[in-house]
Point group: D2
Chain length 142, copies 4
């Protein structure tokens, strides 16, 4: 561990709440936020070239083992939201935090996180610690 | 064509419209019917042991190349619907018709069809005509 | 009918196939195209200011009574697609055609249409013919 | 607080993982568990007659403000899972725990919880504490 923690990558995406995501209350159904976060997460993973395709090529799958979402304010039909995904932990697993805000007013709407663990695709076993390829992709010395 | 057409298989499934499928109008969003039909289609394919797994083992994929749905009456939150899938054509492609009705009153709600074509998974080419395995599964002489 | 048919509006949107829309075959599951078309349809309806909100204010709902999709080529994970929605008929109902193509190569992937009918929200009865508000929104004399 | 805690209701539902819920890895995409939990939650709310319809009649909405899911083992295409929803807290909010297991082997697959808060539908304000109607529905003295 070091005082000079690396600058971990982040990414932002924008979603306009579509009609098919809106429930009887006129707001995006809470379960759809898993999709919004995934769109942001994939943009984040693309930033360090370790998205689904490169994960597979590297021999590791990274299943999501935890999803947590806190909803403070609903998102309404047609509302433009900004989802920011920020890599927070990478040594044992990939922990990504999400902030969801109104794209115009910046009002904080929701937040959440996901945790993904490395699984060796040949053995189907979970690794205790991220494989070297992740450090390499992040440009961080192990 | 023959007067002795084989008895083609059919299957029925039941779905209770869940909250997350209901739109602002209080009815199942029209796009979700592709899911309801798929649940019925898979039950139908199971009837002659040629569902996704067996298709893959047989070396053929059967992508849906056409989906048509006609909505006469909406299905409301919590409404129990019955989806009947009926195999209609199998020589060139799999054409399956769907009837969607209220499970209690039998009121006809919607109908539709899908068409799937055989694709050789090695060559990724479409076949002109169903492969022998389909006839075998259906118990029909070619 | 006239030789001088009005220039009917059209709209285009772009979608990048997300991980959660991709099936076991590695392509966008066929049912998700109802969402892609809806995103394009809403962009089209916005063009003449008659989207969900304005429909409701006008006292009419416009449920989709028919959806048809033809899939020629699959769309893969991460592929950018362009969905063009084109208003085709408006006198009896709203018929909208859709063309789905690869956003970069312009390769035609799929096409489809939807039909929506006007329903008086007070009486819940279907109208035989579009209400004057639609002509007004389209800038077309009745 | 009392040693005589009431027997809080629970409910179980069964889901067979459909093709359209399965991702490229051959397992139910993690975001779909929000749907599975909702189906179980609605069965639970029905047990004490306080599901969406009765909530609305009572003048209170109960938006989900927190969703947490922990995934231990994936659920595969066609796998039958059992989702048990258990009411855990009701004084300040509705906290419901979920256990997801293989329906045949009882192997524990995933778990999670949701928290819903009462919102007065006229004022759109959150209540600090459950309204009397919830106690009444649960058959618990306030």
């Amino acid at each position: 561990m070091s005082n000079l923690s690396p600058d971990l990558p982040a990414a932002e995406v924008f979603v306009e709440i579509p009609f098919h995501d809106v429930d009887l209350m006129g707001v995006a159904w809470h379960g759809h936020y898993a999709k919004y976060c995934e769109i942001a997460r994939c943009a984040l993973l693309d930033k360090f070239s370790y998205n689904y395709k490169e994960m597979k090529e590297s021999g590791y799958a990274w299943p999501v083992i935890e999803l947590k979402l806190r909803y403070a304010h609903p998102a309404r039909l047609g509302q433009k939201i900004r989802i920011k995904a920020m890599l927070r932990e990478y040594e044992l697993h990939l922990k990504i935090d999400y902030l969801i805000a109104d794209a115009e007013t910046d009002e904080r709407l929701s937040k959440g996180h996901t945790i993904q663990v490395p699984v060796d695709m040949r053995t189907q076993k979970m690794l205790f610690g991220a494989p070297p390829i992740l450090y390499e992709k992040l440009g961080i010395g192990t």
